[in-house]
Amino acid sequence: MARLKFLCDADRCIECNACVTACKNENEVPWGINRRRVVTINDGKPGERSISMACMHCTDAPCKAVCPVDCFYNTADGIVLHSKDLCIGCGYCFYACPFGAPQYPRVGNFGSRGKMDKCTYCAGGPEPDLTAAEYQKYGANRIAEGKLPLCAEMCSTKSLLAGDGEIIAAIYKERVLKRGYGSGAWGWKTAYRETIDV
């Protein structure tokens, strides 16, 4: 069984934000929520790099560990999903997440933030695959259709890679060896407790 991961090759990312837009469109993400975002480090300075970041679908995910109602689960491919029916919108996953992935549809106080929303790796939710109920709550289920997340699939420079961890790590390694440099697999150490040694 594959272990699906994301890898952003920051040396290729051109900060076009197409992954962000594609994600919002494909999943009909509510206003104010960005399941994926592009962060530019050292903006305007030498060595500037942009990284496209979303839920990394961590191994031993912190959100899953701290959830007081245990609404998270892992798919067979290691994707971290959650049930919006069980979520109570407490915000704990958001405190624990290293990548700022969990977000809430409303900015209200008094715990009225609504059900948490995050990247699903385009794998929907606990509802039956490809149903209207699933789409309405979680967005597309491209995995059920045999496709990869749209953000990675349409990345114009193939900076953002999605797929089995070992395969995308091998692709990245090959790139680094060929071009002679690489700024690292961002977030991998935090999310998967491993890094890609080249």
């Binding site: 920051a10 960005n34 959830c67 690292g184 150490k189």
Partner: protein
């Protein structure tokens, strides 16, 4: 035409010159490779995650979306907060609450119920007026619900979830969350009112030293003198006021996400809130014990507000003396003075 001819001739010369230069460059290239590429090497100055993590424990950049919070790429403190919430707090809370229940059980078995030694006198004295009792029960009822719903957040998924299943547990937890959020307001109001009605009576005095020296009468058979509140009650009062205030403030920080706080601020607030919450719950368990099961006649003080005179003499001798002085001075018989025999 001539111009074109001229250009052509010029071009031909130019091409020849360019070719010569290119040839020279190609010949010189192997020697120059190292330095020429070092100048444009994109890795030399590229940011690397490891360096940023070592320096700051978080990686922050710039985003082009309006949500400024999204600019934090990686924050590792979440892992520490997770370890605290899942392990440290669970242990501290478990030990504090179960430990307190165990201590109370042992105390009850050893000491039994603390009786009024002189027996009931049949005469009562007003200990708490209706407003004081109202404030007490306002705070107390809120606290019980706040504590239970708080404990549900920390322990519910391991204790209650397996019993009632995920759907029922989620529905319950959602209701508990709203109760927790909204009851914080009357609870805080109760704290403020308690401070105003009882703070003066709870200022530590010299009598308290004796009370502590004699073990408060909890250990041993002594009945140290005490005013309206003994030293133990004063300690409880200030614990409730100060810890309660800290819990309220940290709670409101969590209730208003990102109002003057960052994610690190909210993690800290949660640590304070959870830790003080379980500790105060353990303390209040002791308070509930001594006010009900642990001591005969104690519940009346907050029940109907009137306590038996013998009970009052045994536990709050100085206060009874003070009330009697007041009563004789006023010439009223609202509080039965000792000099006057019962009708």
């Amino acid at each position: 035409m001539t111009r074109t001819g001229h250009d052509r001739r010029w071009s031909a010369r130019g091409i020849a010159a360019a070719l010569t230069m290119l040839l020279a460059l190609l010949l010189a290239l192997p020697a120059a490779t190292g330095s020429a590429f070092a100048q444009v090497n994109p890795t030399t100055e590229a940011v690397r995650e490891e360096q940023l993590m070592q320096a700051l424990d978080r990686v922050t950049g710039r985003v082009s979306i309006p949500d400024r919070k999204a600019a934090t790429l990686i924050q590792v403190e979440g892992q520490e907060w997770r370890a605290y919430h899942e392990r440290t707090l669970a242990w501290i809370g478990g030990i504090a609450i179960l430990g307190m229940l165990a201590v109370l059980a042992v105390f009850f078995l050893v000491r039994g119920r603390i009786r009024t030694e002189a027996g009931p006198s049949g005469r009562t004295i007003v200990r708490f007026r209706w407003f004081e009792r109202f404030v007490h029960w306002l705070t107390a009822s809120c606290f019980v619900i706040l504590a239970l719903s708080g404990l549900n957040v920390a322990f519910g998924k391991s204790l209650l979830l397996p019993l009632i299943g995920p759907e029922a547990f989620s529905t319950f937890s959602m209701a508990a969350k709203y109760a927790h959020n909204y009851l914080s307001f009357p609870f805080t109001l109760g704290l403020v009112l308690m401070f105003f009605i009882w703070a003066l009576r709870n200022i530590p005095s010299r009598v308290d030293v004796t009370w502590f020296a004699q073990g408060g009468g909890i250990v041993g058979k002594a009945h140290p003198p005490a005013g309206k509140f003994n030293a133990g009650q004063k300690m409880l009062f200030w614990l409730v006021i100060l810890v309660g205030a800290a819990i309220a403030v940290s709670g409101y920080i969590l209730l208003f996400p990102f109002y003057g706080t960052t994610i690190a601020g909210m993690q800290t607030a949660q640590v304070v809130h959870g830790l003080l919450g379980v500790l105060l719950t353990a303390v209040i368990l002791g308070h509930i014990y001594i006010g009900t099961l642990g001591m005969e006649g104690a519940f009346d003080a907050m029940g109907n507000g009137e306590v038996d005179l013998n009970w009052a003499r045994q536990h709050h001798s100085l206060w009874v003396a003070e009330e009697e002085r007041k009563a004789t001075a006023d010439g009223k018989h609202g509080v039965p003075p000792t000099a006057v025999p019962a009708e």
